[in-house]
């Protein structure tokens, strides 16, 4: 049986680069086919019928033709434009972060439908929520779980005993928590205050509706954010470029 020549797919555009005279090469994430690299021909011309439908971070339904090197987008129609995140610089920068995470944690053609759902869900919330801190942490913990890096937050990784409600330790290389006894013995294990551990557990296990109602003090927020970011950076073994931009915006808005 010969391979299908055309296929329909929903896709979220993660990144794109200009290619040749008027073409663009897109990296998209799809529910049934995972991450794909697709060629969009002629979309840098003002009269292109596709251009407005394949902007970054849009959810688009597309018809794709199988090609030699790259599959080529032949039709595209926006399903969700997530306008809120286009009209706010902070949100745009956070959307870049989400897309960079998905791009870094996935391989081409690795199917991961739940991750697609998570990304679409998060982009939709990002575009209309005012406070996006918890949303981003929720996304980080869940992308870790969905890509096989779910940190163990309930038992000590050495002695397998449930963690006592005290100051426990997190070890990046082991991918989870250690009880005080084993944590102190391990170099590079990070001490985690109890409120931080509780927040992490809550984010990992509870549905978003409950997470959204959490009220946190700024210190815990900072700790959770820093811990997750350094754990992700440790796993990816490279710095996330979009984070530099987010930090810069935060610095400038405080000045």
């Amino acid at each position: 049986m010969s391979r299908e020549r055309l296929y329909h797919t929903d896709a979220i555009i993660l990144r794109r680069t200009d290619f040749g005279e008027a073409d663009r090469l897109l990296t998209v994430f799809t529910p049934q086919r995972g991450k794909l690299r697709l060629m969009a021909k002629g979309v840098r011309k003002t009269t292109s019928r596709k251009a407005g439908h394949i902007e970054l971070f849009m959810l688009t339904n597309m018809l794709v033709a199988c090609g030699h090197t790259w599959d080529v987008i032949s039709q595209a129609e926006t399903l969700q434009a997530y306008r809120g995140l286009r009209e706010d610089l902070e949100k745009t920068s956070q959307a870049y972060y989400l897309a960079e995470l998905v791009d870094s944690f996935t391989e081409e053609r690795d199917v991961n439908a739940p991750l697609f759902e998570l990304l679409a869900f998060t982009l939709a919330r990002l575009s209309h929520l005012a406070d996006i801190f918890l949303l981003l942490r929720y996304f980080e913990l869940h992308i870790l779980s969905l890509t096989g890096f779910q940190p163990q937050l309930h038992f000590c990784l050495v002695c397998n005993q449930p963690l006592a409600p005290t100051e426990n330790y997190f070890h990046f290389g082991d991918g989870g928590m250690l009880c005080p006894e084993h944590g102190q013995a391990r170099p590079h294990a990070k001490m985690i205050p109890l409120p931080v551990l509780k927040v992490l557990r809550f984010l990992q296990t509870q549905p978003w509706e409950k997470v959204a109602d959490l009220q946190l003090n700024p210190q815990t927020c900072q700790h959770v954010e820093a811990l997750l970011l350094s754990y992700i950076t440790f796993l990816l073994e490279h710095r996330l470029k979009s984070v530099d931009f987010i930090r810069r915006l935060q610095r400038e808005s405080h000045d």
């Binding site: 040749g20 251009a51 970054l56 434009a81 870049y96 972060y97």
Partner: protein, 201 residues
């Protein structure tokens, strides 16, 4: 044993480094030049040499130019109270073609693209701020970056830098292209086109 002489392979190699040119095109170009009279190659070589020797950036608007300041910046008939900010030198040419704009320009040489690692510090944004602050003539800054996400992010970033100053920042309107088709227009373009509609006089 080498079948093709070294100068030939060298030129093929150099051609194939250019964007959009593969090894086949590179060798076709090389053999075309080889077959043609030597002065054609000489003219090309001279043009290439002069490219970097004679072209510099204008110290005011950072457009490419032979003379510093460039022809636009030194033209006293241009209106110094308006600066149009564009991404690339080619955008200046596009706007000049309209013959409707008589102000000055500022070329950023790129857009903010966090995932490619291009931040505001890699563009000529600081120079723009300094230029506007140093002059008491500038009343309006038109941000004419491309109407895509990177362009919008750059526009929002620049507009934010001018917040609280007397300078007005404006953005090019968005709407339907000539020769376009309503049926294929995306919702963002269409709704901008609707909100920016004008009366038929």
């Amino acid at each position: 044993m080498q079948l093709t002489p070294a100068p030939v392979t060298k030129l093929i190699e150099e051609f194939s480094r250019l964007p959009g040119i593969g090894p086949k095109t590179a060798s076709r170009l090389t053999f075309y030049l080889l077959r043609n009279p030597a002065d054609r190659a000489k003219v090309l070589a001279e043009a290439l040499q002069q490219l970097h020797a004679k072209v510099t950036f204008c110290s005011q608007c950072f457009n490419i130019t032979e003379n510093n300041p460039c022809a636009v910046c030194s033209n006293e008939h241009r209106d110094p109270s308006i600066i149009c900010v564009v991404e690339e030198p080619l955008d200046v040419i596009a706007i000049e073609r309209t013959r409707d704009y008589h102000g000055l320009y500022h070329v950023l040489h790129g857009v903010i693209a966090p995932v490619e690692g291009i931040g505001p510090e890699d563009l000529r944004i600081a120079e723009l701020l300094q230029r506007v602050r140093a002059s008491d003539k500038v009343r309006e800054v038109i941000i004419a970056t491309n109407p895509n996400l990177e362009g919008e992010a750059t526009a929002m970033y620049i507009a934010r830098q001018f917040q609280g100053s007397k300078v007005k920042t404006t953005r090019l309107a968005r709407g339907l292209p000539v020769g376009g088709d309503l049926e294929y227009a995306d919702e963002i373009t269409l709704s901008r086109a609707l909100s920016g509609r004008s009366e038929i006089s």
